[in-house]
């Protein structure tokens, strides 16, 4: 364009030269004059065009510079986030960088608690109590939910200010923190003047930053979950190792105890026989000492046997499930009446006997009844059903208690999972029940509705529990 303009300029000068020569010769070449006039017009037009193109290029170059700046900011955020280990650091990094994209007077980040699904204030910068209360209201009044569903940043003017000057109200921008699959939380940015924004660019940028931060927070939460799960796994592994140790010790202790009993019997009988015959004081005193110590050894052996009894109780016997359940109901009677719990039993006649470890199955029902009582602290109805459906026998324990929250259902058989306080529960009851039922070749599952109650269904296979070799 610029070169064309210059060649036109050269042409024009040549024509003007001719015009001047003609004019000095006293001839006014009208045609040439008009030609020059037209060409001049063209040159000016072209010059205008060139100038406007130049301006455009300059603008493009500014935009490029902006983009480059933004890229640098993003790169910086990515770096901050990839180095970051805690959620707090991620959020503080996010706010610092958002500040560079869009200067603000204050900011707050609310994260959704992975367990309770509630918004929790997780980070705030230069916001007073009143402003924080307003951000809280945005959550309570559903504005945040709406922003989350819109999946984009939204400006929310401060309603108090709006009356005075709607054009230049202060307010905040709510930016969703979400990954492609998961809502993580929100970032609220406070601005003195909302209208000064070059909305789309700034919002795009904030959304982008928020998405990066959301991914980082999610990764962090996942990492935490994995860490917790690993810890739990390690713990339960230790528990299993401990249980195995106890079992091995039990077997050994009971073997040792039996071997010790014979020599103990001989010593004890001999000493007591001598005590009957010897009357000399010093000898008698010594014999008494030997007798006392022998009885002490006997006492230790007995308690060792008692302690390991649970490990040794592996006897499977053909028993009636009904008899076991009735026994446990009798045990719990006092507790039921204390908590005003009515008990309904529905035992189908002719349910076949099962090969069970009665002690263990008692433990299971005791646990289920205890849990039901805990869920019906203010009274209720406990329904216990036994029935056979070839080839299985079913036992149902149903309460009218407060039920189990949906998100907890899958966890109730996990060791150490409990919603009770440490004084009330260890989180091992249902885990042990599960293990016992599994060992019997049975199944246990749960159905529950919050506010209505919980039903545990136990299934025993007659075939499984009538075979041999269970020990």
């Amino acid at each position: 364009m610029f070169r064309a303009l210059q060649s036109k300029k050269a042409q024009l000068f040549e024509r003007l030269q001719v015009l001047r020569q003609n004019a000095s010769a006293g001839k006014l070449d009208e045609r040439l004059f008009h030609q020059i006039e037209t060409e001049l017009e063209e040159v000016f037009n072209d010059a205008d065009q060139t100038l406007s193109n130049l301006n455009h290029e300059k603008a493009v170059s500014y935009d490029l510079k902006d983009s480059l700046n933004q890229l640098l900011v993003v790169q910086h955020l990515s770096e901050v986030i990839s180095r970051t280990k805690s959620v707090q650091e991620i959020l503080s990094g996010l706010c610092n960088i958002a500040q560079r994209v869009l200067p603000f007077s204050g900011a707050a980040v609310y994260l959704i608690d992975p367990k309770t699904r509630n918004y929790t204030l997780s980070f705030s910068l230069r916001l007073n109590d009143e402003q924080l209360a307003i951000t809280r209201r945005h959550i309570d009044e559903g504005i945040v939910d709406w922003v989350m569903s819109e999946k984009r940043a939204v400006a929310v003017p401060d309603l108090n200010e709006l009356k005075e000057d709607s054009g230049n109200a202060r307010g905040c921008i709510i930016v969703p923190l979400q990954t492609s699959e998961k809502k993580i939380g929100i970032l609220e940015i406070w601005r003195e003047k909302l209208q000064e924004l070059r909305a789309s660019t700034h919002f795009d940028m904030l959304e982008f930053l928020a998405r990066q931060a959301a991914i980082a927070v999610e990764n962090n939460q996942l990492y935490e979950e994995v860490r917790e799960a690993t810890e739990l796994f390690k713990k339960s592994q230790l528990q299993i190792i401990q249980a195995e140790k106890m079992a091995a010790m039990g077997v050994m202790a009971s073997g040792v105890a039996h071997e010790i009993n014979n020599p103990l019997q001989i010593i004890l009988a001999r000493v007591q026989l001598m005590l009957r015959k010897i009357h000399e004081a010093e000898a008698k005193a010594n014999l008494k000492l030997i007798e006392r110590e022998t009885l002490r050894i006997s006492e230790i052996v007995t308690s060792m046997l008692r302690y390991t009894k649970q490990q040794r109780q592996t006897n499977m016997q053909h028993v009636s499930l009904e008899a076991i359940v009735k026994d446990v109901l009798v045990l719990m009677q006092q507790k039921f009446s204390l908590h005003k719990i009515e008990v309904d039993t529905d035992f189908e006649p002719g349910v076949p006997q099962l090969l069970l470890n009665a002690g263990e199955i008692e433990q299971v029902f005791l646990n289920l009844f205890e849990n039901a009582t805990h869920a019906m602290k203010n009274g209720g109805r406990l329904k216990v059903r036994l029935y056979a459906r070839e080839p299985d026998v079913f036992a149902e324990v149903e309460d009218t208690g407060y039920g189990i929250a949906r998100e907890n259902i899958s966890q109730i058989f996990v060791p150490f999972f409990t919603t009770k306080s440490p004084q009330e529960g260890t989180g091992l009851g249902l885990f042990l029940c599960y293990g016992i039922i599994e060992r019997h070749g049975g199944r246990i599952h749960v159905e529950s509705t919050v506010g209505k109650g919980t039903k545990f269904v136990l299934r025993f296979s007659v075939h499984e529990t009538s075979g041999e070799g269970h020990s």
Binding site: H258, I266, A269, T294
Partner: protein, 113 residues
């Protein structure tokens, strides 16, 4: 004089129990295993059998069942380390090992009034 058969694989226990019961005025025969006990029972009658549960060869349980199969009017006391497991209805009473002399004597007196 009431006759007692003591079946125990441990010699020292046989000796001391026999001594105690003899002093109490019972006639005591001792054998070291179930087979010998059954042989002796086939030859002569006894009023009471004291038998250890844990013995090599036929154990106390098997011995008791075989004695009951002989259909003799004899009382049987099983001596065992742990009474709680597997109670046997063919047995008249259990004696926990180790027992004190007084326990042994009063048990025998109860069985042979």
């Amino acid at each position: 004089m009431k006759k007692i058969l003591l079946v125990d694989d441990e010699e020292s226990i046989r000796e001391v129990f026999a001594e105690i019961l003899t002093e109490e005025g019972y006639q005591v025969a001792t054998v070291e295993n179930g087979d010998e006990g059954l042989k002796l029972l086939a030859k002569e009658p006894f009023d009471l059998i004291l038998v250890d549960k844990k013995m090599p060869g036929i154990d106390g349980f098997d011995f008791v069942r075989q004695v009951r199969a002989m259909n003799r009017p004899v009382k049987i006391v099983l001596i065992t380390g742990s009474i709680s497991e597997n109670p046997l209805k063919e047995v008249d009473a259990y004696l926990a090992k180790p027992c004190e002399i007084d326990e042994l004597i009063s048990m025998v007196q109860k069985m042979l009034p």
